[in-house]
Each structure stands twice: as C-alpha cells, then as structure tokens.
C-alpha cells in the first residue's frame, strides 16, 4: 500500500472582519498552490466546522464556493474538530482510489461564548441544563488529577479558558508517488463516554488506545490541542511518553480549526529536523474524543 502524506498546510487567524467564506478563501488556494498538485488532481474534499460556533445554520455551505463545487465534486463535512476531517480524508486516500484530497476547517470564536457552546455537547437532559462551560469540566479533570496525586495543585487552572479567535486551516493530503512534507505512519481515533462522571478523567484509557493504534511510541515530540498544561501531562502519562515530550499548541486557536493547527505545529518540527512527531487532536469536553496522528519526515 502506498504511503499517504501531507503536502501542504496553510493557517490564518481572522480579526472578525472576514466571514466564513473569506476565511476559507484565504487558505485553500494557497494550500493547493503550495502542495504541488493541481485542483484537478484533488479527488475529495473534507471540511470541518460547527454551526453553533458560528451561530448560523448551514454555515459550511458558503465556503463551498471557494472549492469550485460546480460541476459537482466529491465533498463531505464533519461537525467537529478538523482533525476528524483529516482522519476521514486519510482513510479515503488509504483505500487507494484517489491521489490527493483537500481538508479544511474554520471557526469564528469571536461570534459567541464558545464555553457555553461546548456545554451543549453534553447530555441534553441531565447535564447540559446545568450549563457547565468547557472550563468547568477541564478544571474538574485537573482537580481529579491533583486529588489523585498525579498533578500538583498549581496545575489546576484558576483563570478562565483562553479566548477563542477566528481562523481557518487548509491542507492537501497526497498519496505516493506525489511528494509530501511528512508521511502519515499511523492515525487512530477513540471516544470516551458522554457522561463525565463515568469516565477515567485522569488515566485517559482512550488516549492510550488511540496513541497505541497510531504507533505513537516512536514520536520524539507530541503536540496536543487542548488549553491546559496539566492536560498535556495527563496525555503524556496515558501515552507512556515523558511529560516533556508533550507540548500544548501555542497561542489563541479558532474552534474546530485547532486540531489542524496542531498538525501545522508538528509539520514545523519535521521541517526543523525532527524524524517522528505526534499530534493529539481533541473534541468534546475534557478530551472526550481524541485523534492520534503520527508523522514521519520524508
């Protein structure tokens, strides 16, 4: 089976003045231009966004203008973080019927209170009505780790969650013999139970399973898209990696685009000489749904 890799990745942040279509337009053309493949070679597009983030129904439709959706193309969309769009595109390329695929994700964090938006992903009858924002569940996760002696009390956040911004990321996936910036050697995703009180918030067995499935043991460094450094320590422990090996994605991130920005950070490590790096993307409260991606230098 020929290898699948990442040919290019372009990311931007918006200041609120660009709409969804304009954010995506600012990255897709550049990602294709940098990939070495033509639009005609792209056999599938997978995108990621979330209507409640943007505050608009069918918010994925406008950006389809940017990819030239007429005559009809093969296109699909996931209503979650972009790392899962990447997973779908990777899966499609591993089947072997396409040579290249486009993946993009966008979010407008400035549109609303994103902590309240994430609360709506919780059990709608027993939990969401209580309206715990995202930071409540993350703080409980880290407090539970501190209670268990796995983290120090100083690792439990006392401030609010980092602010969400607007942004978009686009990338082109290719199959050999096309040239890649990094090859994907493993990719797995696992989801934990929706009830936060039923989960092992500290041991994160689903992170361990995803990392094992992705063969992440060989990774020299791993980037995690999550807000708190204590979560990076828990992920390192679950993966059996040294804590210093797992870094948080730096800077303000756009909802739904964060996972692909983490892939961008991993690509920069490869560009700088790393051989094998890992990415842990996440969606849902307190790392509920994770994707583990292992990349290797060409």
């Amino acid at each position: 089976m020929s290898r699948v890799g990442i040919a290019s990745l372009v990311s931007i942040r918006g200041d609120g003045s660009l709409d969804e279509r304009e954010l995506v337009r600012a990255v897709v053309g550049r990602a294709i231009a940098a990939s070495g493949v033509t639009r005609a070679q792209i056999g599938a597009t997978v995108s990621a966004s979330n209507d409640l983030v943007v505050g608009m129904p069918f918010s994925f439709v406008g950006p389809l203008d940017v990819i030239g959706a007429w005559p009809p193309i093969s296109e699909s969309h996931v209503e979650t973080d972009g790392i899962f769009a990447l997973w779908e595109a990777w899966l499609r390329l591993t089947i072997g019927d396409l040579d290249a695929a486009l993946v993009y994700a966008f979010g407008r964090g400035s549109a609303g209170d994103q902590g309240k938006v994430s609360a709506l992903a919780l059990d709608p009858i027993l939990t969401a009505p209580l309206a715990p924002d995202a930071s409540v569940l993350e703080r409980l996760q880290l407090q539970a780790a501190a209670d268990a002696g796995v983290l120090d009390a100083v690792d439990v956040p006392t401030g609010p969650s980092p602010p969400a911004v607007d942004g978009a990321v686009a990338m082109v996936l290719v199959r050999e013999p096309l040239r890649a910036r990094a090859w994907i050697t493993g990719f797995d995703q696992r989801i934990d139970h929706a009830s936060v009180g039923w989960r092992d918030l500290v041991g994160l067995p689903h992170v361990r399973a995803a990392g094992g499935g992705a063969g992440m043991g060989a990774a020299e460094r791993i980037v995690l898209s999550a807000p708190w450094i204590g979560q990076a320590a828990l992920v390192a422990d679950a993966l059996g990696a040294p804590r210093r090996a797992v870094r948080l994605l730096d800077g303000p991130v756009a909802p739904m685009a964060a996972g692909l920005d983490a892939v961008g950070a991993a690509l920069r490590w490869i560009d700088d000489g790393a051989r094998v790096v890992g990415v842990i993307g996440s969606a849902g409260p307190a790392l509920q749904h994770v994707a583990a991606l292992t990349l290797e230098a060409p």
């Binding site: 337009r25 007429w70 939990t127 407090q143 209670d147 009830s195 009180g197």
Partner: protein, 292 residues
C-alpha cells in the same frame, strides 16, 4: 477598509425532549426524592440510571442508591451558578453506586467529603429538583412508585454577534444607498449577486464589482399561504428567485402585489425599496410585478 457590519442577536429555543423509560424513571425518582441507578450485568450499579452500560450492552434494571454520597472531585463555580447561587461543581457518587454524576453542592467541598441531597420544595421532574449539601443524609422514607417523566423542556439560549464579512458588508451598505452590487468573474464572465468575494465556480479567478439593474425575471417561486412569526408580507404571497437584468445567478426575495394564482415563471419584476435606508436585504421591501 470600513469595519464589517455587525449586529448582536440571541439564538434561543426551548427543546422538548423525550426521555425514554430509564432516564424518565430517574427523573420521576428525583421528583419523589429518590436517587435511582441502573444495574449492569456484571453487578456494577451505574448512576445516574441509564439504558446503556458504557462497557457494553444494556442495563438490566433500576435500583435505589444513596441518599448519602461522596464527592469524587469538586471545583468552585466561579461567580456562582445561575440556579443555585454560590456553589461547587462536583462529581458525586451516591452510596451503592459505582459511577458519579456532575451536579452542584451549595457549600465548599473537596474530594472525599460526604454530601446529601436537599430536595426542591416543588419538584418538577428535572435535574433541578435537588442540590447537594455537605454532611450525612437523614434516613429517608421516600419511595419511587414506578412512574416515568416522559418529556422535559430544556431551554437553550446563546448570544452572538453576527459579522457580515468584507464582501457582504460592501453589498449591504450599497443596498442602503439603493444600489445593487454584483461581481463579474474574470474567468467565466458570469455576474452574480449578492457579492461574495469570488466566483462560485472559478475558485482561483478574480472578480470585479458591477452595479446591477433593479429589474429582473422571476425564475422559480413558491406561494406562502400559512402565517409564521417574523413574516414581512401577509400571506398568501410569492417567494422566489429573481434573475436581475445583467446578472447570471438569481437571488432570493419576496414578491408582493402579485396574484399568487396567476403569477408565472418569467414574470418581469422590479424592486420596491423600503422607505428608510437599511444596510441589509430588507432595503428592498420586496419585488413587484411590472405591468407589461
């Protein structure tokens, strides 16, 4: 570049949710002052009661748990909780249960503390029927009669600021000046409106802004005959796609002053402008048939 048009709005809806037989029993239990869990096949007791065992398969029956309980972990609710005031978010595991649920304690607590439920004076069969307080539970004579809460109403409200983007802001501001702007694609030559900053079929092509006529042709339509909230014309009225003269892509609008029973595709229409200038599609009140 002028700043984008923006407007705050609130997205609000009251969901009416069907609970099912097990969650419905759990809520009826709360209404009766009883905490219900579910028995798993391997003997564990899952709380709150659930049809599904997260380790696989269905649960096999309901069982009361608590009312005494232990705090698994807790953090302070910053700024208080809208329903419970000063409170601590906690994962709470009742005696006899193997799993916990997220809820609120009305006083400072930490992992390992004992808590007990304090029931609402007028329970409604919802998650708001109790709050937890530190200390041991008193013996309870409450029983669950086997009834079920079949539906719950869960309001959802989110506040947003809509920002229109560069192309859309230009388009809407021009409408406030009674001008309709479109874009001509440098590659295919087609003209489309509203402006969107690019051609929908030629993704790499540049576009130039062009001004369009206020008249056009009705290319598709439907007749709205029922009333709903926010309606701008009194039913029956026509809503449809209008191809402005000089444009290649129709835009959607309302057609007033037309007889819904006789209007046809191909009818010539013209814009009827609103009296007050407004930077939105409502600058055009509606389109109306042009007499031949």
């Amino acid at each position: 570049m002028p700043s984008p048009l923006e407007e705050p709005y609130r997205l609000e809806y009251v969901y009416k949710r069907t609970t099912g037989p097990v969650t419905g029993a759990f809520l009826a239990g709360l209404r009766s002052g009883v905490l219900l869990g579910s028995r798993a096949r391997d003997g564990r007791v899952l709380f709150p009661a659930s049809e599904v065992d997260h380790r696989g398969g269905a649960t096999v029956g309901l069982t009361p748990v608590g009312p005494g309980a232990v705090v698994v972990t807790a953090v302070e609710a910053r700024g208080g909780h809208p329903a419970f005031g000063a409170a601590w978010w906690a994962l709470i595991r009742p005696d006899g249960a193997d799993t916990s649920m997220l809820h609120l304690v009305g006083a400072p607590v930490r992992a390992g503390d004992r808590v007990h439920p304090v029931w609402a004076a007028t329970p409604a069969g919802s998650i708001f029927d109790l709050v937890w307080m530190p200390g041991e539970a008193q013996a309870s004579a409450a029983t669950w009669s086997g009834d079920v809460v079949t539906t719950v109403r869960t309001p959802v409200g989110l506040d947003y600021v809509a920002r229109a983007g560069v192309a859309a802001s230009t388009f809407f501001r021009a409408l406030a000046e009674r001008r309709v702007l479109g874009e001509r694609c440098a590659a295919c030559g087609k003209v489309s409106a509203p402006m969107r900053g690019g051609c929908a079929t030629c993704p790499d092509a540049a576009v130039t802004t062009v001004e369009l006529a206020h008249t056009g042709v009705l290319t598709m339509f439907t007749v709205v005959r029922f009333p709903f909230e926010g309606q701008r014309l009194a039913p029956p009225y026509v809503a449809g796609w209008i191809l402005l003269d000089g444009s290649d892509v129709p835009l959607f609008h309302l057609v007033g002053g037309a007889d819904p029973d006789t209007i046809e595709v191909g009818a010539r229409v013209r814009a009827v402008w609103a009296d007050a200038p407004v930077a939105s599609l409502e600058a055009i009140q509606h389109f109306t048939p042009v007499s031949p």
